[in-house]
């Protein structure tokens, strides 16, 4: 039985673009532009898309590291209590911060170079009531061991660690307050391929051990496919396709997803497919194209695509729910 942990409704994050003599806001970067998304407890939800499509912003805005412009984020607790996070005062967020955590991309900037690992990690614990130093050391030590590192490493400085180790420490930090949902923002993208696999396995292990839910942000669809239960594909701040990870590859509905999949080089000579080469670049999120945001690059675009904005509709493939927003899908829409 699938239960939501987080519900996003009409979620928008705009960044003002300032210009002119008085530094007035002349427009907005529509980084996230109307996202409806349910994240289910215990799943791994992949969020894929090209650079700049708003993945990171979405992830951060859920944690309110960036203030969302519009929309609601509702947290559903294990006991099914719903709390709307977006309307909370900053200080009332604290109990929920424990439940939502984030792992970042860059193993170099994700640790404070001036502090030992323990020094970096102890403050959050302190804040959330772990008052004795012994206890804090124990928690951190246990977690380090959980990510296959030595307990003693907590007294070392970040520069003594390799990229993969740092990333594990980043995971320890996310885990230290026993969260329910972790946003992994390109958590493995900066790692060498040989290390990447270690971290991926670690993440899966931890998920099992701790009943975690992941929002797994990446631009690498092969990783998403391997790791995730469901995948959401974003383009210019919107979700264009959302479905079970197997279905995305096997029953691709959106032309963008199709192109994306075909563009990914596969290390398997037997699986060589013809690339679909998209014309041009991703348009600017300040002035997204009218109609379907993807239409200028879409090889299949029709006239309707230039004028009408498609909405995310529900279809069914392989017996699973499959959402996509495209005018050109000839499957029957399933009403809610």
């Amino acid at each position: 039985m699938k239960k939501e942990i987080l519900k996003l409704r009409d979620f928008k994050v705009y960044f003002p673009v300032k210009a002119g003599v008085f530094n007035r806001t002349v427009g907005h970067v529509m980084a996230v532009d109307g996202v409806d998304l349910d994240i289910y407890r215990g799943e791994v939800l992949g969020l894929a898309g090209e650079s700049g499509c708003g993945k990171t912003t979405l992830g951060k805005a859920i944690l309110r590291l960036v203030e969302p412009t519009n929309g609601k984020v509702t947290y559903v607790s294990k006991e099914n209590d719903e709390t709307e996070l977006t309307s909370l005062e900053k200080k009332d967020m604290d109990p929920f911060r424990k439940k939502l955590q984030i792992v970042f991309q860059d193993p170099h900037s994700s640790l404070n170079p001036s502090f030992t690992i323990f020094g970096s990690l102890q403050d959050p614990l302190k804040k959330f009531g772990v008052n004795s130093k012994e206890e804090r050391r124990k928690i951190i030590g246990d977690l380090l061991e959980a990510v296959n590192m030595r307990r003693e490493y907590m007294d070392r400085y970040p520069h003594e660690f390799s990229g993969g180790q740092r990333q594990r420490i980043g995971i320890v930090r996310a885990l230290c307050l026993d969260p329910e949902l972790i946003v992994c923002d390109e958590a493995v993208s900066a790692l060498d391929v040989s290390i990447q696999a270690q971290v991926l396995q670690l993440l899966m292990q931890l998920k099992k051990d701790n009943n975690l839910t992941y929002l797994f942000i990446t631009h690498d669809l092969s990783v998403t496919e391997y790791l995730c239960d469901r995948i959401a594909v974003m383009y210019l701040g919107r979700i264009v396709e959302l479905c079970d990870s197997e279905d995305l590859y096997k029953n691709t509905l959106h032309p963008y997803s199709e192109a994306l999949i075909s563009a990914i080089p596969v290390a398997d000579l037997d699986k060589k497919t013809k690339r679909i080469v998209l014309e041009g670049d991703v348009p600017s999120p300040v002035n997204p194209p009218k109609g379907c945001p993807f239409h200028p690059r879409c090889p299949k675009a029709k006239d309707i695509c230039k004028t009408e904005v498609p909405t995310l509709k529900k279809y069914s493939t392989n017996g699973n729910e499959h959402y996509a927003s495209c005018h050109l899908i000839d499957l029957p829409e399933i009403s809610k």
Binding site: A19, G20, V21, F22, N23
Partner: protein, 321 residues
């Protein structure tokens, strides 16, 4: 670009206003007033209180602070800088005499220090780690470490008094007709000033050049088979120039301020020595005008720098900001 300039101008004037008010209030707090200062200490006891009061009235010093500030401000806005209190000379006259002197000195020094600084800096960067680099660094560092008045005085002792190659100071002499006549007078002060500035320009040019030389496009240029000079100058220095120009721009006000002491050492009749005199004499109108002029120059210089940077660097010129 234009909006950017407009934006800067939009801050510019309120800034001038606030600064003028602060300076005016500050001067108000300092002891005494212009009138009591006009009286030389040795004769002061011979002036009666009535005479002082009459003078205060004549200069409008008996009005309230705000009124005086307002009068000063309005006439300033109308382009009337008012009169120096000490001698009653129109401030515009004083400025007309002193500003060119300082500009002359500063610009010559700026010119030399920039040329020298940039070229030595570039050489130093290209020969990084070599003996040349090290000795240039040490020499440059020494240049900024000697108190400038001390340097100036020793230079006078050496070149003007012992060797008698150059005049001890001053800017003009009655028989000076051509520009050539004036060169001996400017040599020492501008050189001393320039040498002190060179070090800064040099270090900056060096590190900027090193920065640029480590950038990938330098490798690109090499990979195209360009000769070294072209790589270093056309690709390297051209890009390194942007921050150096910024530096020079920031130096200009520094230089104008920094020439104060050198002006004093070399009896150079510039704005710096005038400023010291007016500060010592609590000559409010003059202090106000000169300090605002300094502020104006600094603010304008940074504006000009931004424009210049934009001209040199197309990223800024065409980019939004």
């Amino acid at each position: 670009m234009t909006t950017y300039i407009a934006q800067r101008l939009f801050i510019f004037f309120p800034m001038l206003f606030v600064i003028s008010f602060l300076v005016y209030s500050g001067l108000e707090l300092s002891p005494g007033d212009a009138v009591s200062h006009m009286i030389s200490p040795e004769l002061a006891s011979t002036i009666t209180a009535e005479q002082l009061d009459a003078m205060r009235e004549a200069y409008g010093l008996n009005q309230s602070f705000i009124t005086r500030y307002w009068i000063w401000l309005t006439s300033m806005v109308q382009g009337d800088m008012g009169y120096s209190m000490a001698g009653g000379v129109a401030i515009s006259t004083i400025m007309a005499k002193t500003v060119p002197a300082t500009l002359e000195l500063s610009l010559v020094a700026l010119f030399f220090s920039t040329i020298l600084g940039c070229s030595l800096g570039v050489i130093s960067a290209l020969k990084r780690g070599s003996g040349t680099d090290n000795s240039l660094t040490v020499a440059g560092m020494a240049g900024v470490s000697i108190p400038e008045f001390f340097f100036g005085l020793v230079a006078i002792l050496l070149f003007a008094i012992e060797l008698k190659w150059l005049p001890v100071g001053g800017r003009l002499m009655p028989h000076y007709e051509t520009v050539w006549d004036r060169i001996p007078n400017i040599v020492l002060p501008s050189l001393v000033l320039a040498l002190m500035m060179t070090a800064g320009a040099m270090r900056y040019a060096r590190s900027s050049m090193l920065d640029v030389l480590a950038r990938e496009f330098i490798t690109t240029a090499r990979s195209k088979g360009m000769p070294e000079w072209r790589v270093n100058i056309l690709h390297g220095f051209r890009v390194a120039l942007t921050p150096v120009v910024v530096l020079i721009g920031f130096r200009l006000p520094l230089l104008i301020g920094g020439s104060t002491i050198i002006e004093q050492v070399y009896q150079w009749p510039g704005i710096g020595s005038m400023f010291i005199r007016s500060v010592r004499g609590s000559d409010y109108p003059l202090v106000m005008t000169i300090s605002l002029m300094y502020v104006f120059v600094v603010l304008t210089a940074s504006l000009v720098i931004d424009v210049l940077t934009a001209l040199i660097d197309p990223r800024v010129r065409l980019g939004k900001n």
